[in-house]
Symmetry: D2
Amino acid sequence: MIAEISVVPVGAGESVSRYVAEVLKVIRSRNLKYELSSMGTSVELDNYLELGELLQEIDDRLVEMGVGRVYMVVKIDSRVKGGSIEQKKESVMEKL
Amino acid sequence: MIAEISVVPVGAGESVSRYVAEVLKVIRSRNLKYELSSMGTSVELDNYLELGELLQEIDDRLVEMGVGRVYMVVKIDSRVKGGSIEQKKESVMEKL
Amino acid sequence: MIAEISVVPVGAGESVSRYVAEVLKVIRSRNLKYELSSMGTSVELDNYLELGELLQEIDDRLVEMGVGRVYMVVKIDSRVKGGSIEQKKESVMEKL
Amino acid sequence: MIAEISVVPVGAGESVSRYVAEVLKVIRSRNLKYELSSMGTSVELDNYLELGELLQEIDDRLVEMGVGRVYMVVKIDSRVKGGSIEQKKESVMEKL
């Protein structure tokens, strides 16, 4: 299962990079395989319960930083047969 | 906390309404306040752990129906001071 | 073609309802069939060029209001055979 | 302006990589700066009209390939002062 997480702190200024950096620190602290892109961070997870715990920790960290409102967009690609971040990209690149 | 959930079964035919109906049944079975729109279903939740459990139950149901790949888009609006589906809509309507 | 538009003004305060109200005014001024939900506004459009013009007008309005950064999430459901906001919801409700 | 585009062909089989490869070919044919990730492709654009044209060309290509229903998720980050894909990532990485 791959989940791409985009976090937008609302009412915390126009520059959000220091908050996004904290999101990455949370992800790294959980030893998850991840991929940073300009519009979100994709992570490999075992299931949705793990996703819920990760999102809760991210939200808690932003609230600790004084963010009063967190807007998130999470896109999930879950296949019964599984699939990794690298496999998805390779299967596209080889068809170019 | 409000989460809007959009589910796209991949490889399960062009019409997806019977799958979306199952998503609604899962949400209803958990007695959650919800709002159905043409592009997703918004629910009021206490936290992200509850979200993870809900998404897991939805995915499990779709897999039971034979869906091999589930694509989801979840948009989350989480405020420290809280906020309901109705309050959000009212605060917009009164400014029209 | 149905597009659900969610707009998050970044760095313009925690309450965003007055901006969302402006988005609705832009949509209404273009006589589009729309559906307001707590997490976005769905509109019926003919094609993606019309979508581009609508989004540009929305962004211009928010910039006029002093918003320096606009984050949008647009979800699009485009079927060759077409489909309306009401048809999508009815096809789900009748299967409950 | 940065737009991340995710395309899900609906009813066209569980594997979608050949369609995503076509999306990339369309983007490349327009000489846009882009970034491929496992969950979408981010592009740098001048405005929303250009975005509308790009999405239309992508949809047309998929319909030519026989896709009857296209689901897209487009996330947009538009700043009055501008900003590139690389600048966004650098401003996060330097805060880690």
